[in-house]
Structures are given as C-alpha cells and as structure tokens.
Amino acid sequence: MSRRRTIALFRRVAQEIRRDRPSLALLFIAPIVLTGLLTFILREGETPPVNAVVVNLAGTPGTVYTSALTAALEEEGATVATAPDQAAAEQMIADGDATVAIVLPASLGTEGQVEITVVTSGLDPAGEGSQVVTVSRALVGAAATITGVTPPTVVHETVYGTPSTDPMANFAPPIIAFFAYFFVYILTGVSFLRERTGGTLERLMGTPVTRGEIVAGYTLGFGLFAAIQVAILMTWVLGSIEIPAIGPLPEVSIGLGIDVGGNPALAYLVVILAAMGSVSLGIFLSTFARTELQVIQFIPIVIVPQFLLSGVLFPVATLPEILQPLSYLMPLAYAVDGLRQVFVAGADLSVTALQVDLLALSLFAVFFAVIASRTIRREVA
C-alpha cells in the first residue's frame, strides 16, 4: 500500500467534505440540535395532570376511605371529583372531564381481599401507566391513614453511581453512537456513489491505485470528520457551561451536562471504531444503489433494524427471545453497550464487557473494510 497515494486520497476526500456545506451542517449541527431537543423533551416533559373521579359503591366505609383518598390524591397534585356509578365516571373520562376513575366496590370494609378498579381511557398506555402509579400510591397512603399502619417506603440504590433522576444519563450513550454511525453511513454512501456514477472511480481504477488504498483513504477522510463530529457532540453532551444573566438576558447553560462515570476518551474510542465500520459499510452498500435516493432507501433496511435491535430504545434484554441473537450481529449494539459501560458503569479497559465491545467493533470495521474493497473492482460496469 502506497502511503503517498493513501494520503492523497485522504486529502481529496477531506477537501470534498470541507467544501460541502450542507453535509457539514448535517454532520456537526444536526446531532447537537437533535440531542438538545431530545434532552429538553425528556427532562422538561409535562406529566399530564391526574384528574381523578371516585365512585363510591361501599356506603359509609367508602365515604371515610374516599376522604382519606382525596387528601392523598390532592397531596399528589391531583384533582378529585365524584360520580354516582362507574358508567357516569366513564362518561366523564370520555368527555375529557377526568383522566382516571377509581371504583370503590361494595365489599370495601368487609373481611378478605378487596379489589379496587381503576379505569382509564386506554388511548395512551404509557401516560395512563404513570396515572395508575400515582393512584396506587394514593390508595396505599389512604389505607395507611385509616388503619394507622405505615407502609414501608422503598429506597432505590444502584451498583453503578447514584440512581440518576436524569433520563438522559442512560439515553445519551446510544444517541451519540447512533448519530456517529448514521451520519457517517449516509455521507460515505452518497459520496462513494458519486464516485461510481460520476466516472471518477472508473478513472481512478485506470491508475495504479489499489482498492485497499481507496478504502483506507476514505476511512481516514470520513474518519477525521467523524472524529470531529463526535468530539463536538460529546463536549456538548457531557459539558455544561453556565452563563450568568446579563442585563435582560436570563441565565442560560450551554451543554447538556450529563454525568459520566468513566473516561470520556474510552467512550470516544468506542464511537470512532463504530464510525470506521460505518465508512466501509457506506462504500459497500453504494454498490447496490444506482442513485443517491437509493442510498437513502437503504436506511429502513440497514439503519432502522439496528436502531430497534441494538438497545438504543429498548434494552437488548427486553427484546423477544427470538430477536436477541440478532443483536449480536449489529455493530451498533456493541457501540451502545460500550458507551453505556463507560458512561453509566464507569468501566475501564480491565472490564471484560468493554473489551468484548471494542474487539467486536474492531472486527466489524475490518470485516466491512474487506467486503467494501471487494466491491471496488477494476471491472466496474
């Protein structure tokens, strides 16, 4: 492999990207805007108010319980109304006057197990789940008030760090890995497709260049920009600069300020390895595309399954058993896990799980580089 040619290729790729303003914006600005938006949604998201309606079918014991329950619910910030029967309560939910109905059965106050029915609309499972949790807490609290038996409180501790109330702490690693992987794939795929369709690859193959040099030059070129992208993104995600209020301007903080357990340099290594695999994947897949639109059309085939199966949204352990082995085939899964190891668990290089992730990402990068170079033939149609 000629170093001079590889460097010339690297310089050319870098020059091309540098002059391509929209792609630079995609690489550097889009991830920052999107992670910022996601953080804002997750941290500052509104919890819909609990508007409870209580149906007392239990007579006098129910009245005592209802007032205890009302007090407990109001303590949780809920509003409480009453309805004569379940049908009327359901109508209130249907009309939007209530979000949750609590039906106290006639058996309340008698011996044995009591079943209290909680009714929601069924339109928003996740949101209603949190309503039911609030209601359950109030029901237990109300029972405790009446019986005088204080229920135990649950204290949550974690092995790694303190239990964070910041929803982004666990979300940031997969998002960083995903952006690096995704944007590098799109840019390399489109860029190499232009090389194929623009006649420059044909001309390039008419020179003594080797395909290994081409893949290496591309990997260095896009690798450089991926490295800058990830550096900016990680600074943005991990850093936090407080700017005090100046005159009429309110105090603002720049950066998401997410706590990280481990060494950011290790996290950086994980993402760079993933991005290098992504460069070769883009080169490889550009073989099967005729137009730039088709490179985009590969996203549902190549990127979305990785998004679903790599623990970005759903932890791999929660996937259906039959799908779990597939995640072992996803480079992104190792990047996500590696970043979580570093960010959340504070892993260093002595941790086996992180070693496995780094090894897998390196193997994927080599594997994709090999199959990418196989697609660059002197016999290009």
Binding site: E202, T207, P208, R378
Partner: protein
Amino acid sequence: MPMDAPPAGASPPAIRAVGLVKTFGTIRAVDDVTFDLVPGRIYGLLGPNGSGKTTLIRLLTGLARATSGTAEVLGSRMPSRELLGRIGYMTQSDGVYPTLSVGENARFFASMYGVTADGAVEEALRIVDLADRRASITGTLSGGQRRRLSLACAIVHQPPVIFLDEPTVGVDPLLRVQFWGYFRSLAQGGATIVVSSHVMDEADRCDELLFVRAGRVIARGSGGDLRQRAGTASLEDAFVRFAGEAVAPGDPAPGSGAGGAR
C-alpha cells in the same frame, strides 16, 4: 474479414490484441479482435455508439477482464496494475471531482499515478490551456473546460500509451483543432494514441483507422486507403460499405447498424 497486417519492419507493437472476446450475457460486446498497434502513431477507433469501442478500450487498459483472448500493452499482459502508471486513459465522462479546484484535480490524479513533481501538473495544465484557471472550482467550469481538465488528468504522468474515449465530444471546433495538434505532438514524441470517436470528420487526423461494428474490427487502414478500397468519396460511405460486407446472413440489412456513424 479485411484486416491489414501491421506495417512491416516497424518497431515492436505498443498494444497487441489477440483474439479478444468480451461477452455480457448473450451479447458479444467485443468479438474476436486481433491487432498490433505500433508506437508513434494515432489510431482511430471508429464506429457507431454501442459498437464496442469503449469495451475494447477497457479491455486494453485492464479495467475489464477479457472473456477470452489476450491484451498486451508495452509487452505486459493486461490487466496489470503496475502498467497502469504508464497508460493514460481519458474516460468518456469527464471523471473529475466537481468540488475540487482545477489544480487539486490535476494534483490528485498526478499523485495517483505516483507523480509528485509540481512541474508535471503545471505542464499538463499549460497544455490544455487551463494554467490560469488552476484555482477555479471545477464545477464552475464550462463543459469544454472540464473536458480539457479531463485530458490534463489523463496525461499528467506523460504516459507512452494513451487511450482517449471520445475526447472531443462537446468540445468547440477551435479547441478541437488544438486537441488534435497536441495529440500529434505526443505521437511525434513516440506515444501510442488510441482515439475512439463516432465522428467521421475527425477520422482523417488519425494515421490509421479501425472501423468497429458489433464488437468486430471490420476494416483497417488510413482514411484515404479505406475510401479507395471501398470506392467511395466519404469515410461514412466507406464505413457503410464495409459494414455491409461484414454482415453475416440473418443480420440486419447492410448499413442499418451504422446509423450513428455520421
């Protein structure tokens, strides 16, 4: 098939094809082509679009692998990666990077060929009259200027063997004259030049013509020689005449395949 022998007593061939065949599925794009081309001459591959000229060039440059037969350049059997450094290939499409400047394109291809001297790049740009545009972004050039840059990138390493696939398409008449003058000076310097074209009026600038039709070389000789043998006044008519002779029973009527040969 009328096929002239190479000129006797000349130097060893720079380019040699022996029984070259290239098939794509059932199509024989290059069909049993045999010839020797000697240094210092300009050869014209003439034929309609789709007659197999580009495929033939790609076989000779080693960009495509022959189904059977052999191609040799400067005594080495193609494909040979090492030899590519001694071959110049101007592709039919411009094949230059639109976001790079003129100078950056030329320098890039120079380094692909292993040329590091800045003088070579300057010389190539001077030849195509783009030296004062070296800082211009290629995408902003006119079509003719891009074609000139494409030529500069193909000859930046001063190769002894040059393939030019339709080099004058989209080039204005004045520049075309300049191009041919330059090709002639290269040939006088000892280079072997193969120019493909479907434009017959350029053909007389070549030392020798090879009429290509349906993947076969159907006639070879100088322009005057071919006209005389065909008994026609124009090369176009000569082509039609040779094409008619070459038609085997069951093929389309004579001349119908030469519609693109203006």
